[in-house]
Amino acid sequence: MAIKRLISAVLMLLLVFLAWYIYTQKAGKEIVEHQALAREKPQFTELNNKNLVVKTQQEENKVKPLDAPKLEEVVEIVYDDDPVVNASMLLKENILCIRHLSDSKNYVEYLQKFKSRLDKNQQQFYEKFTRHCQELNKQHPEYHLTDKTKLNQQKNKAQATSLWGRIIKGEQQVGDLSDSEIRDLLSSGDLNILTEAPKYLREFYQEVVHWDLESVLQNHQYDYVAYIQNYAHQLYLCELGADCSPYSSTMVMLCYLNSRGCGLDYNSYIQTVLTAGQQADVKLALGYLKSQYQ
């Protein structure tokens, strides 16, 4: 019996080691290739579209991640249908519908003023989105979209059953987590964790991800790099299955920010609204983030 247990333990250790080995090889390779692609800088006077570091389909295939074993299967379960996480996600995913349907007098007045400042295209989208929210509210009364207080109460009353839930509740200080614990969270492949990771793991994103990205993009304008990071992170979430449709909170915000984005899904937004240079940098940043998240 003891021998059987020992064999099981050794096999488990081998599996973890194998997964870690494939992961590190892949991550290292991707970063080196991204840096090589971004190394050459054209002169200001010689600029043209040929200089842009846009990867060809062939290059894209070359850096495409291997089918690695899912790490979340072998590491500690960090999120398992935690009610705190569920409540937090419900709020995050529907925050704009919650605002559009709010019956608070002050908020209604604020929205009227907000709408009057938008352009015609955005105002039309605003109307359509409000109708979409009303429909959603009818279909899912259990979301309580008209009552943010109730949603907040649900989140506050819920008991955290996972590490991520405890972080959201403030019961687990992020500063007390080790580097490997943070990396385990990021590589869990869990949409619920990754959606709010930049908010709760802010220090890691500022002190590790941001500086790495400056090297990958070979760009040192802080705001630009942070902004490309946001776009790339959201693109990764979309690939993981996040709602990136025209009526998702992310897309509605982008519509109100840039009129040309109204009615687009996230991929179309990137292709339509961003310049070729921005798109190239988002791709590079996405490659880097994948090396951190997988």
Binding site: K41, P42, N51, L52, L118, Q206, T275
Partner: protein, 384 residues
């Protein structure tokens, strides 16, 4: 002693650089961009000597006084250090200890030299050793305001500052009119408030000294409460936004922006350019684009408002440099990057001029095309 003489090196950059821009000299400077500290010390010495020589030439120089006043914003820490008699190099060392960008844990000899140069500039602008930062700022502003602009460039700077002030006032007026205000006259409001006071006193009198209330008293309380709700309701309902006044001010703002844009086409002063462009091309998030910004988007195909703001921070200084604004290694821009006076600090910026720093380090390869597009748009549209 109050003096109108701009005395620091920043001022001198103006007198030195208003001469015709010599491309060859500039390239020569770039070639020797990162110099050993001993050479920089020599350069700094030369700058200080020439500052004494040029003192009389730059007397009553409106633009130099303006730049001194602006540069002094970088001197807050230095004034504190003077007052506490703290070694400024210790301050720089502390900045490095908290600087996550640099892998180096302490400043280089080159940064120390540039920092001492910056400290000298700040010291040169202090009149009385015991004055704090704000007193010095106020004095520098007063000195600037006391000078009458003479040349075309100086007059343009004055005009740009005036237009900026007017725009800010219009924006404030717009915010004020967008707020709800009561449409009742002050007499009507006074009367209602008197009634509210009276009813409140009556209500409190019912409670006065009583442990228990009779049925009649409870009824009276209910009536008073209803009356108070009714009176407060009248005031609340009377609060409305004066849409007509808002529209009038909005039209004035648009008219003013058109005037600023027209003025921009005539501007030869880089200081005036930076002020006007800083106001005209700024994105206001979550509201429709101004006609100027809509035109930028249409012509450059750069649609993202936030990105335009990011590009403004790079493109506008580059345009100012092309208009002979100081952009060399000792300029306000470059000292700020090298020493982290306003933004992050970059060891790579020390000893370079702005163009070299931007194109060889700061701006990424994929962003260059957008910077170029925006730059060309500005040149073609406004002739800078």
């Amino acid at each position: 002693m109050v003096t109108n003489n701009p005395i620091n090196q920043v001022s001198l950059q103006h007198s030195a650089q208003t001469e015709k821009y010599d491309e060859k000299d500039k390239k020569k400077e770039n070639a020797e961009a990162i110099k050993p500290s001993s050479e920089i010390e020599q350069d700094v010495g030369i700058v200080e000597e020439s500052s004494k020589e040029d003192k009389t030439d730059s007397e009553d120089d409106y633009i130099s006084a303006y730049r001194d006043w602006q540069y002094f914003q970088n001197c807050y820490t230095d004034v504190e250090d003077f007052l506490k008699q703290k070694d400024p190099l210790d301050t720089l060392k502390e900045r490095f200890a908290n600087n996550p960008r640099e892998s180096q844990s302490e400043p280089t000899a080159q940064q120390n030299t540039y920092y001492l140069h910056h400290v000298d500039i700040c010291k040169g602008m202090i009149d009385n050793d015991e004055d704090n930062y704000y007193t010095n700022m106020e004095r520098l502003e007063n000195e600037f305001r006391s000078i009458a602009p003479k040349s075309e460039e100086e007059k343009q700077l004055e005009q740009a500052l005036l237009m900026q002030k007017q725009l800010r006032q219009l924006m404030l007026d717009f915010t004020y009119t967008s707020r709800k205000k009561s449409n009742l006259s002050s007499e009507q409001l006074q009367e209602i408030n008197q009634q509210i006071n009276q009813v409140t006193q009556n209500l409190l009198a019912v409670y006065d000294g009583k442990d228990e209330l009779s049925e009649q008293e409870n009824l009276l309380l209910q009536q008073y409460s209803q009356k108070l709700d009714e009176l407060n309701g009248i005031i609340a309902k009377s609060h409305v936004v004066d849409n007509e006044a808002s529209d009038v001010i909005n039209a004035q703002i648009n008219q003013h922006l058109v005037a600023m844009e027209e003025f921009l086409k005539t501007v030869i002063s880089p200081d005036a350019f930076l002020i006007i462009a800083g106001n005209l091309f700024r994105s206001e998030y979550f509201q429709k684009d101004s006609p100027v910004l809509a035109k930028v988007k249409q012509e450059t195909r750069i649609w993202d408002s936030y990105y335009i703001d990011i590009l403004n921070k790079i493109t506008m200084p580059l345009i100012a440099c092309s208009m002979n604004y100081p952009c060399d290694a000792e300029s306000d821009y470059m000292l700020s990057y090298c020493l982290g006076l306003r933004d992050s600090m970059f060891n790579q910026a020390c000893g370079l001029d702005l163009e070299d720093f931007y194109f060889n380090f700061y701006i990424g390869a994929n962003q260059l095309n957008d910077v170029n597009t925006y730059f060309q748009y500005m040149v073609n549209t406004y002739g800078h």
